[in-house]
Each structure stands twice: as structure tokens, then as C-alpha cells.
């Protein structure tokens, strides 16, 4: 119903009531003040509520508008069905829109407040007078002031050093604010300017500054590190290349960045490289990777590399850092050291082995059946084994430091000097038979071997002596030789004869008894009748087996003769032509000493040229021994056969006819005839040894071999 209609109806109602009441009063009760008052009250009451019914929606709308003005966005319910209802609908729509707008604004404000509250920064607004007109609660955190303490105050009253002039010109600047507690805080200020205010966002950059300092620090380390520090992306491509890497590999950063790390590696190590990256991803880092790298100029270097994964704040892999150190020199040094160590170990092993051997040898020496001792350059005994104690009678304590000449019989007191001179001349292996004096004064025959004791620094520092007691052997040999030889000659002696045939006969006889025959003569061997293998032609010109007719050289030649069963024939005639008798005589004296001391065998000097005077002959015969021959009643070939069988029997052998045939180079018949001759005289007998017939000297035969000497 429209308002117009409502008004009409209300007015109509009032009019009808008034009319009815008026008619009722007039027609029945008459005009009375009381009744008129009643009518007025009724009409006023009706009018009051009628107008109230009309004004109610207006009042509601007014109240709703007042609420809207106060900010209370409430809808209004008007059920009048008239224009007020439409107005209320429009009002309600407006309220809804305002609510939506207010909610949006509130949401926006809450969002803004939430952002401002939660954001890590202080937001404030300044008006044109630079007074703070808004501040976020973070002012407490940044300055230590409460919001109400700063609102309305000029910014420079709060922050004395605030660069107020900058906010008009710059959108962003940095400065160090001083808090209420006088703490200095570096901040970054972002300014947005509107018409009447400056909105400033202050953010602490303390952490950033710290990070920048740390970054600068690490950049310094990165740049000045002698190690190559290379940062790689997840595809193992180089993204950073420090100065150390430039020096190490020769590539500049510009050349290296963007390339895969593989370009530094030999192709055969790419697989290992991939494996290292895989391990770095799984385990975080891989340390102590020793690997080969190529430099720009093609050199190969060895690096020790540490590969570490780099993760961002979300834990996602963003790359790797490879730190490489050139260990080429170190590796070489290690290899050398290793080789040296190995060499040292080898030598140590050798030393230990040698030591072991030495112990072993010492044990051998100590327990040897030979007397072993050593002598220094002063002739003092420096070592002495048990056998030496037994052999020579001196205990070790007595012998050590004792003069070695105490061991020498009187006639060979100069043996030590002789040995030292020989060793100094270069002889390293002296072996000879000699004699030694025991503590109780007995003289024993010994076979000694001399070895020099050398010092790496000082050279010869003494010699060792291995002595074997050969007294019994020597005695039996002397006896055997005496029986077998046709001449009365003794080993270690020098003889002189003026008969060349006798000299040759002695030498040949000695050769037959096992001596090594040596002939030093100007005569030809076929003339002399000796074998050529032991012949030395005395001649100045060196050709073949010659020796210069020089006493010293002849002496040296004889000295060098090995062994001690030498049968030497020295033809003095050519020497006497070349040298005076005194020198020859002196040579013979030295040879006499040599043969006596070293017991080298038998030397027969011969001269039949008549160049010697009687006195000289007499001197020579006095100095040397005289050769005597045995008287044997047997023909020489028979005596030779008897001596052959005797010599074989001495060693337990019993020769057959065949052996005689081959030894004497004779026919069977001749051999049988000679054997029969000796068997008939009872000097040998034939006995059976299995199927063979062998020969053995009888007691009579032995007697013949011991026949007395004849002059």
C-alpha cells in the first residue's frame, strides 16, 4: 500500500471516528465539555498511533542511518509495503555494499596490519613536517620506544642522525640508526612519497652487512687461496674460477667458466669423476681425491681434491665446490721417499742378513777347526778363536793385544812384515805353509791363508789368518817325498848346482812326484828337456811366455807362482851376463827367504858357464843347499815303476798293468816284463782284485824306497 493511500485511509478513519463521536454527542448527550475532551483524547490517540505507523519506518530509517553514520552497518526491516519498504530495500542494499566494502577494507586493513606486524621491518609515516603520524609496533623492536612515545614527534627528535633531506630525493638509502639504548643498527630505508606524507619502511641490514663482510672475507680467501677453488653447478659446469685455479691450470676465469670440469681430466678418469659427484650428492662431500689434471700448456699435474655439495636454504642441491691442491711435487717427493725407504729397508735387510751371516760366520770362525786370528797393522793380535787357543796355547785374553811375532819361530820373525808388504802390493789371497811357535815353545807346521782386512776409509787395517795344523801331514809328506825322490832335496829350500843335467834331473824328478815344474832360462826347452807349459824364456823382448832378465821381475814372477809344490829351475848364466854377481846373489838370498818363509817348493839355481869365480861358487854353495842323489841298484825305469806303484799304494790305490801302460806310455809286453822284473826280485807282488790283477809293493820294495842317500 502506498503512503498516499495510507494517509487517505488514516484521515478517513479519523474523520469517521470524529463524525461518529460528534454525531453521538450531538444527537444523544448534547455538547458537553467532557465529551469533547473525550473525543479529543480519542482523536489524539488515534492520530498519535496513526502518525506513529507512518513515522515508524522513517524513524527506523533514521536510526539505521544514524547507525550507519556511527559505523554500525545494520539492515532495517520495514514491512509497510510502501515506498518506505523500497527505501529500506535500497538502504539494505547499500548497507550490504558498505558491509562488503567494510569487510574488504577490514580484510585489507587486517592484511596490511598482519603484514606490517609480521614483516621484519619498521613501517612509519611522516607528514610534510616530518612528524611521525603512523608507526608499526615494530618500533619497539627497532628503537626501543613504544608507539605512543613516537607518534606526533618529529623524526629527528627520535633519530638525531636520520637523514631527513634524503627522503625527499631518494627512494632508498642506508644509514645507521641509534636506538634508545644507544645501540647502533645499520638499516635500509625505503621511502614511498604520497601527496602529504612519506611512508618509510626501515629494514635492519645488520645481518646483510655481516653477510657482506663474511662474503668479502670469503671472497678474499677464494681469490687469494693458493688452492684452486672451483664452483660448479649441478651439471658440473664451472661457474666460479679463482685466482689459484688460474695459476694452477693456466686458464683464465673467462676461459674456464661455462665449461664442464671434465675438460681438465684425462678421458679415462671421467667415470671416476662421475662416481665422485654421485658420492658427493649422497654423502655431502668426498675428501682426498687424488687425481690427474691437465693444465693449459699440456702438463700433467696431480691434485688432491675435496668435492663438497652445496645446498640452498630449502635443502635443494644447487651445485658443488671443488677445492684442488697441486700435490705433484709432494707426490714426487713421496715416491722418492718411498723408494728411499724401500732402499733403506732393502739395505737394512741386507745388513740384518749380513749381520746374521756375520753371526753365523763368527760362529763358524769361533767353532772352526782352524785357528783363526787377526792382526792389525802394528802386528797386534785383534781376534783369537777357540781353536787358536787350543792350537797355540794362549788364551783369548792373553792373545788379544799380543804381538803376533810371538807366534813366529826365530827364523821367520819377519813374516808379518812380509805379509803386510805383500798385501800392500795388492795380493789379496796369500796361502802358504809355514811354522808357528806355541806357548810352550813347540814349533808346528801350519797352512795359513791370509786375507786383508780392509776399511772403507782407511784402506788396509790388518789381516786375518786362518791357520791349520799340518804338522803330521807335513811330516808324512816329507817322509814320502824323501822315499820317492831320487835326490835328497827338501821343500822350502834353495839349491845350487853347476851341473845343468843334475838340475834338470831334480826338476824332472820333482815333477814326477807331483811338483809343478818351472824353468826360467835363456836356453830353449827342447835343449833343456822340460815341458813347455812351465817354461819361461829369459828375454828382454816380450813375446809369449818370457820374462825379462831382471832380478826384481824374476823375483816377482816366482812370488806369483801359486801353491807350494813348485819345482823351479833358475838358469843364472844369462842373468850373470846382464847383472853383476852381487845382484844375482842378492836375488838368490831373497828367493831363499821367500821359499823358506812361504814354503813355496824347491828352487834349483844352476850355472855351468864358468862365469863364476871360485869365490862366487863357494858363496853360492854356502848360501844354497847342495843336491845329493840316492844310490839305487835298479835300472831307472824299474825304479820309476816301483815308485809309481809305491806312490799309488800310499793313497790306497793298486794300479793294474793297464794303468802302467797308460802312465808310462809303454806296450803291454814291456809293462809285463818290467813288472815281472820287480816281482822276481820280491819288490812288488801281483794280487787279484776281482777279475783284475793289481800290483802292491812288498816290504822289500818299501825298504828299497828308503835306501840311504849317496853323495
Amino acid at each position: 500500500m502506498r503512503i498516499f493511500t495510507k494517509f487517505i485511509l488514516i484521515l478517513f478513519l479519523i474523520s469517521v471516528i470524529s463524525l461518529i463521536l460528534g454525531l453521538s454527542i450531538v444527537s444523544v448527550t448534547g455538547v458537553s465539555l467532557s465529551y469533547i475532551t473525550y473525543v479529543i483524547i480519542v482523536i489524539l490517540s488515534v492520530a498519535l498511533f496513526a502518525t506513529g505507523g507512518i513515522l515508524e519506518p522513517i524513524e527506523k530509517m533514521k536510526e539505521a542511518f544514524e547507525k550507519v553514520v556511527k559505523g554500525e552497518l545494520e539492515t532495517v526491516e520495514v514491512l509497510t509495503g510502501d515506498e518506505f519498504k523500497e527505501l529500506a530495500s535500497a538502504f539494505n542494499w547499500m548497507v550490504k555494499e558498505l558491509r562488503r566494502e567494510r569487510d574488504a577494507l577490514k580484510e585489507s586493513e587486517e592484511r596490511f596490519r598482519s603484514v606490517v606486524d609480521k614483516i621484519d621491518g619498521w613501517v612509519f609515516e611522516l607528514n610534510r613536517d616530518l612528524r611521525i603520524i603512523y608507526t608499526s609496533p615494530k618500533v619497539k623492536d627497532y628503537l626501543g620506544y613504544k608507539e605512543e612515545e613516537v607518534l606526533g614527534r618529529k623524526i629527528n627528535e627520535i633519530l638525531e642522525n636520520f637523514p631527513a633531506d634524503l627522503i625527499k630525493d631518494k627512494e632508498k638509502f642506508e644509514f645507521e640508526l641509534v636506538t634508545k639504548t644507544k645501540k647502533v643498527l645499520p638499516v635500509e630505508v625505503t621511502v614511498s612519497t604520497s601527496e602529504d606524507r612519506y611512508r618509510c619502511f626501515v629494514r635492519s641490514i645488520e645481518e646483510r652487512k655481516k653477510i657482506e663482510r663474511e662474503l668479502a672475507f670469503f671472497r678474499g680467501i677464494l681469490e687469494h687461496s693458493i688452492d684452486a677453488i672451483v664452483i660448479l653447478d649441478v651439471d658440473s659446469r664451472i661457474v666460479a674460477w679463482n685466482r689459484g685455479a688460474e695459476i694452477m691450470f693456466g686458464y683464465t676465469a673467462k676461459e674456464a667458466i661455462g665449461k664442464p670440469i671434465n675438460f681438465l681430466l684425462p678421458e679415462d678418469q671421467w667415470g671416476q669423476c662421475r662416481e665422485n659427484f654421485r658420492k658427493a650428492v649422497l654423502e655431502g662431500n668426498v675428501k682426498d681425491i687424488e687425481s690427474i689434471r691437465y693444465t693449459k700448456n699440456g702438463d700433467t699435474i696431480i691434485v688432491e681434491q675435496t668435492l663438497t655439495s652445496i645446498y640452498d636454504s630449502t635443502g635443494e642441491l644447487v651445485g658443488f665446490v671443488a677445492i684442488m691442491r697441486d700435490i705433484t711435487r709432494r707426490k714426487k717427493a713421496e715416491i722418492e721417499l718411498k723408494n728411499t725407504c724401500e732402499e733403506l729397508e732393502r739395505r737394512t735387510r741386507e745388513i740384518l742378513q749380513v749381520q746374521k751371516e756375520l753371526y753365523h760366520l763368527a760362529s763358524i770362525v769361533e767353532n772352526s777347526n782352524d785357528a783363526i786370528y787377526s792382526v792389525d797393522l802394528e802386528g797386534k793380535i785383534t781376534s783369537w778363536n777357540q781353536t787358536a787357543e787350543k792350537m797355540f796355547g794362549w788364551s783369548r785374553d792373553e792373545a788379544i793385544g799380543m804381538d803376533s811375532s810371538n807366534l813366529l819361530p826365530e827364523e821367520i820373525k819377519n813374516e808379518t812384515d812380509f805379509i803386510l808388504s805383500r798385501l800392500r802390493d795388492g795380493d789379496s789371497d796369500l796361502r802358504f805353509e809355514t811354522r808357528r811357535l806355541t806357548k810352550n815353545g813347540d814349533i808346528i807346521d801350519v797352512e795359513i791363508a791370509i786375507s786383508p782386512l780392509l776399511d772403507e776409509v782407511e784402506g788396509l787395517r790388518g789381516f786375518s789368518v786362518i791357520a791349520r795344523d799340518i804338522s803330521l801331514k807335513k811330516e808324512s809328506e816329507r817322509n814320502a817325498e824323501r822315499r820317492m825322490l831320487r835326490y835328497e832335496v827338501e821343500r822350502g829350500r834353495v839349491y845350487f848346482t853347476d851341473n845343468f843335467d843334475v838340475a834338470v834331473g831334480v826338476i824332472n824328478d820333482l815333477i814326477k812326484c807331483g811338483y809343478d815344474g818351472r824353468v826360467i832360462s835363456r836356453r830353449y826347452p827342447e835343449v833343456i828337456g822340460v815341458r813347455e807349459d812351465g817354461y819361461l824364456m829369459m828375454a828382454n823382448r816380450r813375446k809369449g811366455i818370457t820374462v825379462e832378465p831382471d832380478p826384481a821381475k824374476i823375483y816377482r814372477e816366482i812370488v806369483r807362482m801359486p801353491g807350494w809344490k813348485n819345482a823351479v829351475l833358475l838358469d843364472l848364466d844369462y842373468l850373470l851376463v846382464k847383472y853383476p854377481f852381487e845382484e844375482v846373489y842378492e836375488l838368490l838370498q831373497k828367493l831363499k827367504d821367500l821359499f823358506f818363509v812361504l814354503n813355496k817348493g824347491i828352487l834349483v839355481a844352476v850355472s855351468e858357464s864358468g862365469m863364476l869365480s871360485e869365490r862366487e861358487l863357494k858363496l853360492l854353495k854356502m848360501e844354497c843347499g847342495v843336491i845329493k842323489s840316492k844310490r839305487v841298484d835298479l835300472p831307472e825305469e824299474m825304479y820309476e815303476l816301483l815308485r809309481f806303484v809305491y806312490s799309488k799304494n800310499r793313497f790306497g790305490e793298486k794300479p793294474s798293468i793297464k794303468d802302467i801302460m797308460s802312465s808310462f806310455n809303454i806296450t803291454r809286453n814291456t809293462a809285463k816284463k818290467r813288472v815281472s822284473y820287480l816281482v822276481e826280485r820280491g819288490l812288488i807282488k801281483m794280487i787279484k782284485d776281482g777279475r783284475m790283477k793289481v800290483l802292491e809293493v812288498t816290504e822289500d820294495g818299501r825298504e828299497v824306497m828308503l835306501l840311504p842317500d849317496t853323495v
Binding site: I10, V28, T29, Y38, V42, V46, F49, E59, E66, V68
Partner: protein, 328 residues
């Protein structure tokens, strides 16, 4: 908040507020004035007048503080006024009436009561206001509203509007009934029954029945309706009590006083005390009127007024049916 423009504050227009000590005097003045006027013209219900006086006094003063004091004073004045008002209740002896008169009166009152409640529900009038209007129309006008209002706890503007509406409708009836009696030609006895059974207030019954000279008969019929207040008060107190079967003490004392005054208390004393009770209850209504905003009273609209007229007409219709049906 938006502060684009400011609404004028109408409450600041008017007389300066009275002092705190002037408030009881003001109430007493309102009460005694209303009572005096009602003596001269019983049509002017003293409770109604006191309410109007209180409203006028309250709406022409800017005494928010005093209004709060008046609201608090009701906690004492209202039970006291109700209790004393029991002296004005004269419970009739039903044996004096013919049964059809008693039944017809109760039926008419019930139809008016139910009719108003029904129409209120139909037109979406608040339940409290509809009950106040129903009680006012069916029982004994303003006094019934004043007695049941503490039980229903209606808004002050609804309470005030109900009193004004019932007074206006009652006055309308008081003016029109002589004409009805004159033009319809019903007998004076029937007229007395009609006035007693359908008019809202005792004063109005007295005035309207003065027309035919059967005031006592009309007031006796009205007494049947007045006696219903005891029953209705009990029922409503039980229905609207916070706890079950609870009856407020002032209702009990009200009923006790009414019973005592009707039966044992000497009528001289009752007659002597009745002005006091009327003045005290008027002061209570003046206090209510003092704290109520007349614009809010106005805003209940014309519907309750129309419903009250309709309820009254329902009563008249039932009476007409009973009359012409030969019951009366």
C-alpha cells in the same frame, strides 16, 4: 568511522532536568492530580492520566539520569501499587447475578480476549502487547494492564501504548454507547449489561451507564470482569514465571488484599484507603511514563489500535447475538 555529517540530537531539546529530590514530588503531583481529575470525571482513568503526565514530564526533560532513577524506583513502586490496588478490587458474589448474565459477561470478555490475541497473531503484533491489550479489553482496562504487566515484562513503550489504546477505545465506547442505546432502543438493563460487559474501564462504565441511570447494575457486571483479574493474574504468573508454578509475591498480596478488602475489611476503611491505593498506583504509572519515550510509544503503530477496536466490536457483536438470540 564516518563523520561526514552529524545528526541533530533531539533529546537535548527541552526543559532542564529536575533535581533528584524533586522526582518523588513530581510523581506524587502526577498521581494526586490524576486522582483529583478522576474524581471530577470518572471517565479519566487516574492511571492513564498519571501515565500521560509522567510521559509529558519525562519527554520534555533531558534527564537521562532521572529516567534511570525512575526505572529503578519501579522496583518498589510497582509491587506496592499493585498490592494496594487490591483495595480497588471488589470481588462480587456471583450468586447475586442471573447465571446467563454471568456466563454472557464471561463469554463476551473471553471473546474479546481471544479475538484480540488472534488478530494480534494475524497482524504480527508482539505477544506481550497483544496480551496487554487482551487483558485491558477483556478485564478491567488500564488497571488490568498495570497489574499483569510485571508478569509479562513488556517493553515500556508497549505498556504505555496499551494503556493509551485501551483508554482511547474505552472513551470511544463511552461516547458511542448512549447513541447505541438510544438508536437501538435496548432496555436499560440490557444497556447496563452491555456497558458492564464490553466497556474497558470502571469509570467509563459508570459514565456510560449514567445515561440510563443503572450505574450500580452496570458496575456489578463490570465487577464480574474485574474479578477475572485474579484468575488471569494467577494463570499468567504461572505461564510466564521463570520457574514452574511460581506466583510473584505482589500478585499474592494483591489478591489477598482484594479478598480481604471485599470480605473482612470494613468498607469505611476500604473507602478511606482506596484514594491512597489509587494515588500510589498512579505514581507508579507516572514513573513508568516518566521513563518512556513517546516516540517509541508512537511507533507501535495503528495496528494495535485497530485490533483493540476490533476486539471491542467482537464483544459488542457477541452481546448483540446474545441479546437478540434471547439469552439475555
Amino acid at each position: 568511522m564516518r563523520d561526514t555529517f552529524k545528526m541533530p540530537d533531539l533529546t537535548k531539546i527541552g526543559l532542564p532536568p529536575i533535581k533528584i529530590w524533586g522526582y518523588p514530588i513530581l510523581l506524587f503531583f502526577c498521581g494526586i492530580t490524576a486522582y483529583i481529575i478522576s474524581i471530577y470525571d470518572p471517565a479519566f482513568e487516574p492511571l492513564f492520566l498519571a501515565l500521560v503526565f509522567g510521559m509529558v514530564a519525562g519527554n520534555f526533560q533531558n534527564g537521562e539520569k532521572m529516567k534511570k532513577i525512575s526505572e529503578k524506583s519501579l522496583a518498589v513502586l510497582l509491587p506496592l501499587g499493585i498490592t494496594l490496588y487490591g483495595l480497588n478490587i471488589n470481588i462480587p458474589y456471583l450468586g447475586e447475578f442471573r447465571p446467563e448474565i454471568v456466563i454472557s459477561t464471561l463469554l463476551i470478555a473471553s471473546v474479546m480476549f481471544v479475538g484480540i490475541v488472534w488478530l494480534s497473531k494475524l497482524l504480527k503484533i508482539s505477544r506481550h502487547l497483544s496480551l496487554l491489550l487482551a487483558c485491558g479489553s477483556g478485564i478491567c482496562g488500564v488497571s488490568a494492564i498495570a497489574i499483569v504487566s510485571p508478569l509479562l515484562r513488556p517493553k515500556k513503550e508497549e505498556f504505555s501504548a496499551a494503556i493509551i489504546i485501551i483508554t482511547a477505545v474505552g472513551l470511544t465506547g463511552a461516547i458511542i454507547y448512549p447513541s447505541i442505546g438510544h438508536f437501538t432502543g435496548i432496555s436499560p438493563d440490557d444497556y447496563a449489561i452491555m456497558a458492564g460487559a464490553t466497556l474497558h474501564q470502571t469509570g467509563l462504565v459508570k459514565i456510560s451507564s449514567h445515561f440510563v441511570g443503572l450505574e450500580e447494575e452496570a458496575l456489578a457486571v463490570k465487577g464480574i470482569r474485574i474479578a477475572m483479574i485474579a484468575l488471569v493474574a494467577l494463570v499468567l504468573s504461572i505461564l510466564y514465571s521463570e520457574s514452574r508454578f511460581y506466583v510473584p509475591w505482589y500478585i499474592v498480596t494483591f489478591l489477598a488484599v482484594a479478598l480481604f478488602a471485599t470480605t473482612y475489611l470494613p468498607s469505611q476503611i476500604v473507602e478511606m484507603l482506596r484514594p491512597v491505593a489509587t494515588v500510589v498506583f498512579s505514581m507508579t504509572l507516572a514513573a513508568i511514563g516518566y521513563s518512556v519515550d513517546i516516540r517509541k510509544v508512537q511507533r507501535v503503530g495503528v495496528k494495535p489500535l485497530l485490533i483493540s477496536y476490533a476486539g471491542w466490536l467482537f464483544g459488542l457483536a457477541v452481546f448483540a447475538i446474545l441479546l437478540w438470540g434471547g439469552v439475555l
